[in-house]
């Protein structure tokens, strides 16, 4: 047996973001332990940590670089994803400060958990080994289990955590089994080696491998909340504290997609015909069930949960397209999605009241005439989610569709566009309440500067990326 880990293959510089962030996370824990009364300090440290992480991510040059026996990769995809993660974590932390104060979440681990979760996401997006992927998935998941249930005395939060935990663990079983089967049929856990192995046509028809692929799809499908593995998402999104929901909808999802993309579009690209159809079915189902589910919702968080399921469907198209446009569009989509989602949840937090109240859509009646800035921001976010120009969501969708069209998945794109037409309906419904109904009750808003800042960042990014997407596209499509 050869040595498992050659010392020269360990490249800590490549691993810098993980290390930096872990250090900061532990620092948060320590500071909290030694009586930081002001949780804002923790948030501040976390933000600094995220900033340092982002900077350290670019320490490795040139890219692509590999570390730990090629099980950790620093490439364009992972760098971009790290940026998405740090941005979304930062936004989540910004959203949390005021929210936690209001909801009485005093736990200092909160920020540490977010940072650890981000570590997991970075690992997930950078891993090129199944073991690493598994670790990443689990780090992310375990943090999220806790985060979802961080409001210990809230029944909904508890229930969300339980559901998420049980189902998450259940799905992990599938993922793991899939990995085991893939490992068994290829003899490798390293994705590069598996990809090489796949060049051999006879290897592609191994039933064990195919079975493993199906199981992997389930595992990843669960993490990205795609139908029929999505059932947890609405409940968890609704029950979890709002900033956590926002965080969950963006960061971990993006990380899962990164892994999804790496495993399927890159590693198993050679046997695409056998999984394309499965992913297409899942994508179509996700779009349909996501949108159909969203139409009837009255709770905005739950509606956004369903909407995020349908978005998972759209993003899957990028995975299916599996070309360079596909990866670029995936990156672009996740970035714009992050800004939009955090913006929208920012508005929700501002309008929410203690105890997760005031989340019914009809509570927003007449918002436009009391708080025009919030109203227009909300409208912009919703329209962007719907994919209407000139907002970022449109460019993102356009990007993904173009990737699919380039590969000839025209039917898939047609289904997707029809679905976005359905999705307009429920996005518009919210706008109807905001703009076209008369105010029914007074709005008690907690217009905290940090939250407002997130909203404004979201608006600025959504519009700016929508109108001048050039630079981001250039970054994404390297």
């Amino acid at each position: 047996m050869e040595p498992i880990l050659a010392p020269e293959s360990i490249d800590l510089i490549a691993l810098a973001p993980v290390i930096v962030l872990s250090v900061f996370a532990m620092m948060v824990l320590v500071v909290d332990l030694f009586g930081a009364r002001d949780k804002g300090l923790l948030a501040f440290i976390s933000l600094i940590g995220l900033l340092m992480t982002t900077i350290s991510a670019f320490a490795k040059n040139p890219i692509p670089a590999y570390s730990f026996n090629d099980s950790y990769t620093v490439d364009h995809l992972s760098l971009f994803f790290i940026c998405i993660f740090t941005i979304s974590s930062a936004l989540a932390i910004l959203l949390s400060v005021e929210y936690n104060k209001r909801e009485g979440i005093r736990a200092g681990e909160y920020y540490a958990l977010i940072l650890f979760c981000t570590v997991g996401m970075i690992l997930l997006a950078s891993s090129s080994d199944m073991i690493m992927i598994f670790l990443g998935v689990e780090i992310v998941s375990i943090c999220l289990y806790v985060l979802a249930g961080i409001q210990r005395d809230n029944h909904r939060s508890n229930e969300a955590a339980l559901k998420y935990f049980l189902l998450g663990a259940f799905a992990t079983g599938f993922l793991l089994y899939g990995m085991a089967l893939v490992y068994g049929s290829t003899g490798n856990t390293n994705l590069f080696k598996i990809a090489d192995f796949m060049q051999n046509p006879s290897a592609q028809s191994n039933p064990l491998l195919l079975m493993g692929l199906v199981l992997l799809i389930i595992g990843f499908g669960f993490k990205v909340a795609s139908v029929p593995f999505h059932m947890w998402a609405p409940d968890v999104y609704q029950g979890a504290p709002t900033p956590v929901t926002a965080f969950m909808a963006v960061g971990p999802k993006a990380a899962a997609f990164a892994a999804f993309f790496r495993v399927f579009a890159e590693t198993f690209a050679a046997m695409a015909p056998s999984w394309e159809i499965l992913l297409s079915i899942i994508a179509v189902l996700s779009m349909f069930f996501g949108n159909l589910g969203a139409i009837m919702q009255t709770n905005i968080k739950r509606m956004l949960a369903f909407s995020s399921i349908s978005h998972a469907g759209y993003i899957l198209i990028a995975v299916i397209a599996k070309n360079s446009l596909g990866s670029a569009s995936l990156l672009f989509y996740m970035l714009t999605y992050a800004f939009t989602i955090f913006g929208i949840f920012g508005v929700i937090i501002i309008l929410g009241r203690k105890g997760e109240e005031n989340l019914e859509i009809k509570c927003y009646s007449g918002l436009a005439y009391k708080h025009p800035i919030l109203a227009i921001s909300m409208a912009i976010f919703l329209l962007s989610l719907g994919g209407l120009p000139p907002f970022a969501g449109f460019i993102a969708k356009f990007y993904i569709f173009s990737a699919a069209i380039q590969e000839g998945f025209i039917a898939l794109v047609i289904i997707a566009v029809l679905n976005s037409a359905i999705s307009f309906y429920y996005y518009l419904k919210v706008i109807v309440y905001i703009y076209m109904e008369e105010p029914t009750a007074e709005f008690k808003v907690s217009m905290s500067p940090l939250t407002l800042f997130v909203v404004l960042v979201g608006v600025a990014a959504t519009i700016n990326i929508g109108i001048f997407p050039g630079s981001i596209i250039a970054l994404a499509s390297h």
Partner: protein
């Protein structure tokens, strides 16, 4: 640059209004009017400086927008779009005046109106498919808001219906646009969505072209709206506020017909030619159906809305006559419909403001109470039914003349629309304006006031101007239409349509900047695997 300025001026005005305190209604209205009027005057300046001896785009601006995709910010006007452009600024101005008495959220209203204006102008100037699509979808938002916030009792239903109907159609167009984009990239090696370039170089297999054509058709047919995609229109019109209806009828519907002229015909001449019978019959059904249904309406606005279906049927018929008479007729009829139907909506708005009802049975004998109003209404109504000497006739006659060259039976069927038009308009007019004023609520109605006169008189002047001396209008698009007709002429459909443009190849090469070329090369050479 100037064109860009004119196009975005209303948006800038809207942005300015955001920072105006909402209590100061007068200032808001004056600012909005000033912006709209300035925009109109500037667009007139475009018109006077327009060189109508060439079909080429003018006032062009072509700068890279999304370099990675080869998408440019490319604007320009030719004869086909210029008049629609001017009409948009004109109607925006009229609509701002017409909305003077809006009480509810006047600032937001004006912002929406001005934003809408930029959206519509953008559609007409865009020379890049991507950009076109952006504007095409973008203008939905302010219109949706205008209908939904300032509309009638069923405004929410109407606004969502309007939005979804249009969105469904245009989303399929998006797929077609993407397909074309990649096809062009594949066949010519140039990543571009430039409309002019695509017009020159698109050479898809005929079967595919049919699908693409259908995708564009659906988007535009819904917008026009053609039978049987029209049912959003009556709802939207009925619920929209007066100015919304005017813009809807005057400009938004024209975007559909414009789309046919800018995309369906030049992109897919052969397919367009093959689909002529289908479009013609749909248009004819639309003409007759719209007129018949219009006849039995009990709501004034609905009546006018259905009459739009009928009128736009004429326009479509003219376009698909594929000869200069028909297309020029269609273009002038586009303008005419904007003016006449716009004016009709304004006039209906006048009595709606006073009586808060649009039911025909509520009125009667108005010409005794409001004689000036009655005269205006009469003139507009007559223009709408195409009385010779007024604008409607010129367009309708040319359209019929055009389609007569193609098929006399179609012409005969379509011509029957003018009988029905007389029926529904005159019957309505009689019930509203003539007979005894039985309803006591109508006895004390104020005649048209100065502000309302300011909105309607310019339209009436145009009605007669175009009716008696349409030359300045028709000269504007004469050359462009001739060029277009030459393109869709069936003589052109050789086995390989690309060959005939061999000599013109490279003419648009300048559209592709070096950076774009570089990024394209990079993309082509970049390894797929990591």
């Amino acid at each position: 640059m100037f064109l860009t300025f004119v196009t975005f001026l209303p948006l800038a005005g809207a942005a300015f209004l955001i920072f105006t305190p909402k209590e100061n209604a007068a200032a808001i209205k004056q600012t909005a009017l000033a912006v709209a009027a300035a925009d109109f005057l500037l667009s007139l300046f475009l018109w006077t400086n327009f060189d109508n001896t060439t079909h080429k785009m003018q006032f062009e601006l072509n700068v890279p927008w999304i370099e990675a995709w080869g998408i440019n910010f490319h604007v320009g006007l030719d004869g086909i779009s210029l008049l629609l452009y001017v009409m948009t600024t004109f109607l925006t101005m009229i609509c701002v005046i017409a909305s003077w008495d809006v009480k509810k959220y006047i600032r937001e209203y004006m912002i929406a109106m001005l934003t809408l204006s930029t959206g519509m102008l953008g559609v007409f100037v865009a020379l890049d498919l991507f950009m076109f699509y952006v504007f095409w979808e973008f203008q939905l938002i302010p219109m949706y808001i205008i209908i939904g916030v300032w509309g009638g009792p069923r405004r929410v239903y109407a606004s969502i219906k309007f939005f979804l109907f249009t969105a469904v159609g245009s989303l399929l167009m998006l797929v077609a646009i993407l397909w074309i984009y990649f096809h062009i990239q594949e066949t010519t090696g140039v990543a571009t969505a430039d409309i002019l370039y695509i017009t020159e170089h698109l050479s898809a297999p005929l079967g595919t072209q049919k699908w693409l054509w259908m995708a564009f058709f659906l988007a535009f047919a819904i917008k026009v709206p053609m039978f049987p995609f029209h049912t959003w229109l009556p709802d939207a019109h009925v619920e929209a506020p007066t100015a919304g209806s005017v813009i809807l009828a005057g400009v938004l519907l024209k975007m559909g017909t414009y789309g046919f002229l800018r995309f369906n015909l030049p992109f897919f001449p052969q397919v367009s030619y093959e689909f002529v019978p289908m479009v013609a019959w749909l248009s004819i059904i639309g003409i007759i159906y719209g007129a018949l249904v219009s006849m039995v309406q009990i709501d004034l606005k609905k009546l006018v809305a259905y009459s739009s279906v009928s009128h736009l049927g004429f326009v479509m018929l003219g376009i698909f006559a594929l000869n200069p008479y028909g297309i020029q007729g269609a273009l002038i009829q586009n303008i005419n419909h904007g003016i006449s139907t716009g004016a009709l909506f304004l006039l209906v708005g006048v009595i709606y403001d006073r009586r808060h009802t649009r039911l025909i049975e509520e009125f009667g004998g108005l010409s005794k109470v409001m004689p000036k109003y009655a005269v205006c209404f009469m003139i507009v109504a007559l223009s709408s039914i195409g009385l010779p000497g007024m604008n409607g006739f010129v367009g309708e006659f040319l359209i019929l003349l055009g389609i007569f060259q193609v098929n006399a039976i179609w012409a005969a069927c379509a011509t029957s629309g003018i009988i029905l038009a007389a029926c529904y308009i005159l019957w309505m007019f009689q019930r509203v304006m003539f007979m005894e004023a039985k309803n006591p609520k109508n006895l004390a109605l104020q005649d048209i006031n100065i502000r309302e006169a300011f909105t309607i008189v310019p339209l009436i002047i145009l009605i007669f101007w175009i009716g008696l001396y349409p030359k300045p209008f028709m000269d504007t698009f004469d050359t462009s239409v001739t060029h277009l007709v030459a393109k869709v002429s069936p003589d052109n459909f050789g086995p390989s349509p690309r060959n005939r443009h061999d000599d013109q190849r490279g003419k648009h090469a300048r559209l592709i900047t070096p950076t774009e070329m570089a990024s394209l090369h990079h993309k082509l050479q970049a390894p797929k695997k990591f």
